[in-house]
């Protein structure tokens, strides 16, 4: 019997497979931006430039840059960088996986240029993922070559005294949506952008765009600031965790996932639209907000939160805290309330009371005025398109004694207690005009909530109007009217035979 030692080197293919995450392009770029914010020099503002021109992705920052020692550690997989470099308060990275994962997600070749603020030289390192995949598994397979120069000719850092640039080539997604990246960064780094850090995107044509913090739309005056704390026992001592942020009632309900809370950790979006603290339902789908939970741990690519005791206690606290908001969301989502300013005012007042805040009296006056406006009987519609939702000609009706009666079909908003009706015009108009039967369909009648084929609907409604017009306006006997109606249906369907 004996012992056997196996040289357990991970396969170099790992460099490729770590790029097979479900990170989207914006999220992967966001990971590199997060690293930039971790490289802050003292209190200096961080300026990040993202250049997506020429089928490359460049992420360039003005952070402190990396010395040779730091870079040596940074290129290793799963090295905890906080052990090797001074990082500002609220640093996001811990796992040493971020940029490797993200760069491998974005492309098959990437380079790092970095210039530390403590030395004059610049360092350059490149990773050819395809090359890694073909390397044999042994200790040498993971070797990384770092170049040093006073200034690299192709360095995106140009004349900057310090900073880091990632350059991703052989980009996997050839049609990166700049808008999606812009939108994601504005949401993911909202806190940074609001406090003076900048993220600049460069379009294909060279135009530069500054990312701006995400703007939320919600019911006015429904915003509640969150400033909560709870205690958690850690390492035999009691620690206080703070939850800050805001919540509000969205102006509409959602049958999608876009509601709940955006959870931030150290100014970076950790989880989008979390709904763990209330029962997710259409009636509660107006609840939106942002919370900062800097005490949470993050997964290695900083999306999602790790389940922990702190998270469990935070959830327990928030469930209780949100009861007033849940009640308000349910109340305002009840039929008609959201469109009735006086109801909105009542609900908002109750909400404020639940959270110990005073209701805005100006808002009450506005609500009253709005109520009066909405009840104004003579309020004019802005355009025919607001009310008339469809108009078309139908197959005309030809009667022996009355000649041709043209038929039109008009769909209209509103509900006067009937689903469909007609208007018959046989008035004289100067030198005479065609007779016209106009079918009126009231679109807001409950009948039209049922699924029905449009053609079938038209035929049934029109044939009813034909029958009624013949009896009510042209004094036909019922059986004659029925016969004519049936003939019209057959003609409408393109059949030659008349009904018997």
């Amino acid at each position: 019997m004996g012992k056997y030692v196996v040289k357990n080197y991970p396969s170099p293919r790992l460099m490729e497979t770590i790029g097979a995450t479900n990170q989207s392009v914006p999220e992967a770029i966001g990971e590199l931006v997060a690293n930039s914010f971790d490289a802050r020099r003292g209190e200096e503002k961080i300026n990040v430039t993202i250049d997506l021109r020429n089928n490359e992705i460049k992420v360039i920052d003005n952070g402190k840059g990396m010395t040779l020692d730091v870079l040596e550690k940074a290129v290793c997989i799963a090295e905890d960088m906080s052990k090797h470099m001074e990082r500002g308060k609220g640093a996001k990275g811990h796992f040493g996986m971020g940029f490797k994962t993200s760069c491998s997600t974005l492309g098959k070749f990437y380079e790092i240029y970095t210039r530390s603020d403590t030395i004059n030289n610049e360092y350059h390192v490149e990773f050819n993922i395809e090359d890694y995949s073909s390397r044999p598994t042994n200790a040498d397979a993971w070797d990384v070559e770092i170049e040093e120069s006073a200034r690299f000719r192709k360095s995106p850092l140009e004349s900057a005294s310090h900073g880091t640039a990632f350059v991703i080539k052989k980009v996997k997604d050839k049609n990166i949506s700049l808008g999606a990246v812009y939108s994601y960064l504005g949401e993911a780094f909202k806190g940074h952008l609001e406090t003076g850090d900048t993220i600049k995107l460069i379009k294909e044509n060279g135009e530069e765009i500054q990312a701006i913090p995400k703007v939320y739309k919600f019911i006015e005056d429904s915003k509640i600031e969150i400033d909560e704390e709870f205690s958690v026992e850690e390492n035999n001592s009691l620690m206080t965790c703070h939850i800050t942020g805001w919540m509000a009632l969205d102006s509409r309900t959602h049958n999608d996932v876009n509601y709940g809370f955006n959870i931030y950790r150290n100014n970076q979006l950790l989880e989008k639209w979390n709904k763990d603290w209330f029962k997710a339902h259409l009636m509660t789908s107006r609840i939106i907000g942002e919370v900062n939970m800097d005490f949470l741990e993050a997964t290695f690519y900083k999306q999602g939160k790790q389940q922990s005791n702190k998270w469990a206690l935070a959830s327990q606290h928030m469930e209780d805290y949100l009861k007033g908001m849940v009640k308000a969301s349910r109340d305002i989502s009840k039929k008609g309330n959201a469109h009735d300013p006086s109801q909105v005012h009542r609900i908002i007042s109750n909400l404020k009371e639940d959270y110990g805040l005073e209701a805005d009296e100006d808002n009450a006056k506005d609500a009253k005025n709005l109520k009066n406006e909405s009840n104004e009987p003579n309020k004019k519609k802005q355009s025919i398109n607001d009310t008339i939702k469809g108009f078309a000609k139908e197959k005309s009706l030809i009667l022996e004694e009355h000649g041709e009666i043209e038929i039109t079909y008009l769909e209209k908003d509103g509900n006067y207690g009937y689903a469909f009706d007609y208007i018959f015009n046989d008035d004289e108009y100067d030198d005479g005009q065609n007779k016209e039967l106009q079918i009126i369909v009231m679109k807001d009648h409950p009948l039209w909530q049922y699924k029905i084929d449009m053609e079938l609907q038209k035929i049934l409604v029109t044939s009813d109007a034909i029958y009624r017009m013949l009896v009510e306006k042209l004094n036909f006997e019922s059986n004659d009217a029925l016969k004519i109606r049936n003939e019209w249906i057959n003609t409408r369907l393109g059949k030659q035979e008349a009904s018997s």
């Binding site: 808008g179 939108s183 398109n385 939702k389 008009l410 015009n425």
Partner: protein, 212 residues
């Protein structure tokens, strides 16, 4: 005024072809509202359909000057709903075209509607139906990129793109779902007035549909 008296007045006015449309509107509206009559029974009493009476009452919501101009043209009943729900520009155009074409004996409701649409553009549903299969495909791809859609919405968009590709119009129900999907895209900033994705024309079309 007691209801019976009001009903008699309304009936006499409704049947009187010697008075102007403006006077009809004024008298009937006044009697109807002041005596608290209801639409269905009043319409039945005067042997009109509820829609005919409602159309006339809704003309009464226009200002006096506009009613007078409409009355001068004396358009057929089948144009009343349109005129009552139009704005000033649309009414001006409708009156102009009715006066111009009256000797041609056109189908007036058709002429009036089309003249108004010429001024105000197509309806929301018509605009949705004007989107091509290619544009719907592009919308789906954008939604996927922005992670804005559920799987069932992606399937739906694939389905209606195929439908449009075969030249078939969308049903009202499909249009309503499609519009709610377009709203989601705007909420997700995938469709905006300053698109960064070289698709401003499509974004403008969608924003126009959503009247944003």
């Amino acid at each position: 005024m007691i209801k019976v008296e009001a009903l008699e007045n309304i009936k006499n006015t409704w049947e009187n072809n010697a008075i102007s449309l403006a006077d009809k509107i004024d008298t009937i509206s006044s009697d109807f509202y002041s005596s608290g009559l209801d639409l269905l029974s009043t319409a039945s009493f005067i042997k009109a359909t509820p829609s005919e009476l409602q159309a006339l009452l809704s003309l009464g919501e226009l200002d006096d000057e506009t009613v007078a101009r409409i009355s001068w043209v004396n358009p057929p009943k089948t144009t009343w709903i349109m005129l009552a729900n139009a704005n000033h520009e649309e009414i001006d155009e409708a009156i102009r075209i009715m006066e111009k074409e009256k000797h041609l004996k056109p189908l007036f409701s058709d002429v009036v509607y089309n003249s108004m649409i010429d001024v105000s553009g197509p309806t929301q549903e018509q605009k949705v139906n004007l989107l091509s299969a290619k544009e719907i495909k592009k919308i789906r791809e954008k939604g996927e990129t922005y992670k804005a859609f559920y799987d069932k919405e992606i399937k739906f968009l694939k389905s209606i793109a195929g439908q449009k590709g075969k030249g078939k119009e969308l049903t009202r129900k499909q249009i309503h779902w499609f519009i709610s999907i377009l709203e989601k895209l705007v909420d997700a900033n995938a469709i905006s007035k300053n698109s960064l994705d070289d698709d401003q024309e499509l974004c403008n079309k969608v924003l126009d549909i959503l009247e944003k």
